[in-house]
């Protein structure tokens, strides 16, 4: 692989806040500069926890996470936010906050706490709104938007953060097919137009395979396979990790997942 490693987990074991079990165990994963890596796996396999650890939000109990070769916790909170932006699964937002305000939140790492000096802020917010197609929604309150529009507003916040690494936790969850594709187009644009590095958690295997340069399959808190999607998603993986008899077939548009039937239900996943 001819890539420059930028973000790297080394034998990381991570326990989510308030949990009694390690959701991620002894995971090593290297993210190269400018690539899109998708994390896939069944529910509870530790995808979101791994993403939070890569963002520096959760501290590994063993092992470490390195950003540009330096331990991630050693970067200051705001300095880190200038390099890594992470969009949680369901960001909470109180009533009455407008789209423009939400996108403006992404500029926090660049503004000083006391004085409102952020020279590039205005244009960064404008650009972000433009790229997600939300310019005309800027004065709308978040709670008046549809699910897809709200997602796009949050993505605009992440864009305005202008970080080289973007971590997205199921950005397509609860969206209809069209909005899913719109969001994924935007993610691809992050890489092609802006040169960002993207790590994305996705449930839809076919979409993940189409989008990502590489894929990491998680299974019970461990990495089951890493590599190009075609190699990762063979029928053995689909049976052992996802519990289905299925196959991934080549298709003019990319890959297509053909599900046959669930694997033996008595088999423990």
């Amino acid at each position: 692989m001819n890539m420059v490693p930028i973000l790297r987990a080394e034998r990381a074991t991570v326990r989510p806040q308030g949990s009694k079990h390690d959701a991620v165990r002894d995971v090593s994963l290297t993210i190269g500069q400018g690539e899109i890596v998708s994390l896939v796996g069944p529910n509870g396999s530790g995808k979101s926890t791994l993403l939070a650890a890569l963002a520096g939000v959760l501290r590994p109990s063993q092992g470490r996470v390195l950003l540009s070769g330096r331990k991630i916790q050693r970067h200051g909170r705001r300095a880190l936010a200038r390099r890594i932006a992470r969009l949680p699964q369901e960001p909470g937002c109180p009533e009455g906050v407008t789209v423009e305000q939400v996108v403006g939140f992404g500029r926090h790492p660049y503004a000083s706490v006391v004085r409102d000096r952020d020279p590039g802020g205005r244009s960064a917010v404008e650009t972000a709104l433009h790229h997600v197609g939300m310019t005309s929604f800027r004065r709308r309150a978040m709670e008046t938007l549809s699910g897809g529009e709200r997602r796009r507003a949050w993505l605009a916040m992440v864009l305005a953060q202008q970080s080289e690494i973007v971590l997205l936790d199921e950005p397509t969850a609860a969206l209809d097919l069209r909005h899913q594709l719109e969001v994924l187009d935007l993610v691809r644009k992050l890489k092609t137009s802006f040169g960002r590095t993207v790590v994305i958690v996705l449930h839809d295997l076919a979409l993940a395979a189409r989008l990502a340069d590489r894929m990491a399959v998680l299974h019970r808190g461990r990495i089951y396979r890493v590599g190009p999607a075609v190699q990762c998603l063979d029928s053995e993986t689909l049976r052992d990790v996802f519990g289905v008899h299925a196959a991934l077939r080549p298709h003019p548009d990319g890959l297509r997942l053909i599900v046959d039937r669930p694997a033996d239900p008595r088999r423990r996943l």
């Binding site: 308030g18 939000v57 300095a79 936010a81 932006a85 949680p88 009455g96 409102d116």
Partner: protein
């Protein structure tokens, strides 16, 4: 019903569309409230008498105006501004519109510490705001720790319930102190319900530093305050040290609440009603919310004090009981609407 609501919408339309108008509207309302408070009272004065008395030190009314009414109005403005902003900050910290320093024991914490200073060191009036602040900060620390399990405060009720428990203990301490030192402490009734009776320039001097410090620091922190509206993970993701921010903001809220308590006793419900009303007008962004809360709180306390002084003249009611009579039902409505 729907027609009435439509009419209200329509009437307020120009203002809700232009939030910049609200500071002007509230500012004028405060001026009007102050004028009303200067002229009304046990002795009714008309405007010309007031102007003449203020200009002429020999005028028989000069003393009444300068030493009784004016300082009392200034204290009312300071107390109202402090309490409303303290409430807005507290609601942001716990992400719950039901939070108010006077309802969850923060003011009571300030009251206990303040009373101890009054009883133990009657001469040390400068120590009063400091003691009240430390009392309020410790009370809010205990309440936040009790209602904070794991990552976030869960449910609107938990913080209220732990606050009620802490408040009950603190009120018992206040009752005990005022009973044991009845000769030195202010009367239990006037103190716990909050009153502006007998306030003078000395009280203004006690309240001014805390008010200015608290308001200036809160205005400096509007950006992190806005981020605290988000959930912890998102706020953390854009670079806010969430725990630290929450600690600092609850200290600020305690400072403002303690400042109000050290001159007016436990005035309640201002911090609950005013921020919720202002939020309906200009939304939750703090850059607009906080200054308008300060104005709104000042208006509210000044007006309530006018009513307290005049409605049963010559008898003077404690202003806190009037505020609670208006604010209590509002709290019940909020509670009712938010409970499943």
């Amino acid at each position: 019903m729907s027609r009435a609501r439509h009419a209200i919408r329509w009437t307020f339309h120009p203002f809700t569309e232009r939030p910049a108008w609200w500071p002007i509207v509230l500012g004028l309302a405060l001026v009007a409230a102050v004028l009303l408070a200067v002229t009304q009272g046990a002795l009714h004065l008309d405007a010309t008498t007031v102007v003449r008395a203020l200009a002429d030190a020999e005028d028989p009314m000069h003393g009444l105006l300068c030493n009784v009414r004016l300082p009392r109005i200034v204290v009312a403005i300071l107390v109202g501004a402090c309490l409303a902003v303290a409430g807005a900050l507290m609601q942001t910290v716990v992400r719950n519109p039901l939070a108010d320093p006077s309802l969850i024991g923060v003011s009571a914490g300030a009251g206990v510490a303040g009373l101890i200073v009054i009883v133990a060191m009657p001469a040390a009036s400068y120590a009063l705001p400091l003691a009240a602040f430390s009392g309020a900060a410790s009370a809010s620390g205990v309440i936040l720790a009790l209602s904070w399990r794991g990552a976030a405060a869960d449910g609107p009720l938990r913080i209220i319930l732990s606050g009620v428990a802490v408040q009950a203990i603190l009120f018992a301490l206040i009752g005990l102190t005022t009973f044991l030192y009845a000769d030195r402490a202010p009367s239990f009734a006037a103190f716990t319900v909050g009153s502006l009776a007998g306030t003078g320039w000395r009280d203004v001097a006690i309240a001014v530093p805390g008010t200015i410090l608290g308001l200036v620091l809160s205005m400096a922190a509007v950006r992190p305050l806005d981020l605290l509206l988000l959930d912890d993970e998102t706020a953390c993701g854009v670079g806010l040290p969430v725990r630290w921010a929450r600690f600092v903001v609850s200290c600020l809220s305690s400072l403002l609440a303690a400042t109000a308590v050290s001159v007016a006793g436990l005035v309640g419900f201002v911090g609950l009603v005013v921020p919720n009303a202002i939020r309906l007008l200009v939304g939750p962004g703090h850059a607009r919310l906080l200054p308008l809360c300060a104005l709104g709180g000042a208006i509210r306390v000044v007006l309530a004090d006018v009513v307290a002084r005049t409605c049963c003249s010559p008898l003077e009611l404690p202003v806190g009981s009037l505020l609670a009579l208006i604010g209590g039902p509002y709290f019940l409505i909020l509670l009712w609407r938010r409970l499943p």
